[in-house]
Symmetry: D2
């Protein structure tokens, strides 16, 4: 069984038509898993709904705590891409050797139709099932190109 | 023949995946007319690409000037909804008796998939063909509900 | 007030994922009007859900009967494009002089995302409000190009 | 490096608006990988574009031959779901021990917007990278429910 922790990020942003701004409401994860006809046994917990640029050390501690306490050994976290690597570092120190934790996100909100979110979610769900605990520190986000690069 | 003036508005906003902000690039009007399989003889001119909350008196004077000078007697303007009524007032004073001018917009960007833009564009293109010059001052936008109301 | 009669057509076709075939379920009209944020006072009645190539004289008589008996003087009919002109002829003979009846359809199902249906529905709703009873026999569908032509 | 073989299936079906039927044109794989912002080093070869219910023994032999001759040890095949298990059996006998071959498909065409194809493609690309050669005969498609079941 897989535990999914939702933290927000571009993945789950929506357009608020009254204010004209981007905002968070509920997570789209259940809808996305249904659309993907996923048969994986997964339970979803929303820990926070924030832009990862606004994620604090306390937020990261909360995420790490939930990962440590989770009964599942395979954990998927949806996360904004901007500070995803920072959260990976925090997780690696605390539960990276005993659990397979995969972070995933999107460059375009799922709600905007042409999202990479569905693709990434399918990809992440496979990796979290197939990979052992392991590397986390071989990547960085290049914010100018919008691409994760190997380091 | 119909003249279409593009001024921006939610209609044409896009998501910039590098900055995570909403922004304008090119207008989607040609793509929308193609998608709607429109056979109407229309020519499109982009006057500006701005949020209507940022529209100045000079911008409105520019729009009015183009409407006055246009050879066509039927004019469609895409426009942000927030100050659409203000532009209608400026137009009414200058060319509202001789030309049929229809303003249209959207609450959700066309690029976000579930937009009202396609519906509104089809609607506006019909009205601009079928209606005579006429009323413009019987409506206001209720920004709390996001709905235009008769006054 | 506007009466909308649904008869099916490409407009409302869906993909049945179990059989892999196109089929009709419920009409998408209410969802489309909601998406278009339509404030028009309209009531929807589904008369049939069929491909217009399969429409019989009895089906057309049923449509004509409902148009004649409708309390509304403005009627919108969703209809497959292939025999739309035939139904227009039947309607013209029976109620074309007293009521404004507009037929609309789509080349691509609304459910398939890139549909012309939303655009056409917005367009038809405007025309049915703005136009008097009138011409119906100046058009034919060219099935090789998929385009309606003036005749 | 990953080799992707395209064989058609629901995945790649499109709506032909002139005939009103479902049909194959070009594969959507390159567009889907671009939309998913995939950075995986993959080369795509279209072997056929057919419904898997019409796949013959000769077609399967062709697929098996390409898998055997491929320089890559990791191969992804897009395939109609109805006879996917039959092709898996043919592949297992010929190259199932030396190469990781993953078959994927969709219940709804990618072109129809709400497809499971993007999710499945992301999932399959991850599994083909992460899994060793292995089991193929533990699943069947239940055509009444549209779901693959473990056997």
């Amino acid at each position: 069984m897989i535990r999914i922790f939702v933290t927000g990020g571009t993945f789950d942003k929506e357009y608020n038509e009254l204010t004209g701004a981007l905002a968070f409401k509920e997570t789209h994860l259940p809808e996305m898993l249904r659309l993907g006809r996923s048969r994986v046994d997964a339970s979803i917990t929303t820990l926070m709904m924030i832009d990862s640029l606004e994620m604090t050390d306390a937020d990261r501690a909360l995420i790490v705590g939930h990962c440590r306490q989770a009964a599942e050994a395979r954990i998927l976290i949806t996360h904004g891409t901007d500070t995803m690597v920072d959260t990976a570092r925090a997780l690696a120190a605390e539960c990276g050797r005993t659990k397979t934790v995969v972070l995933t996100g999107a460059m375009i909100p799922y709600a905007f139709g042409s999202s990479d979110g569905l693709f990434n979610l399918g990809s992440a769900l496979s990796f979290v099932q197939a990979l052992p605990p392991g590397e986390w520190d071989k990547v960085r986000k290049n914010r100018e190109t919008g691409v994760f690069e190997a380091i």
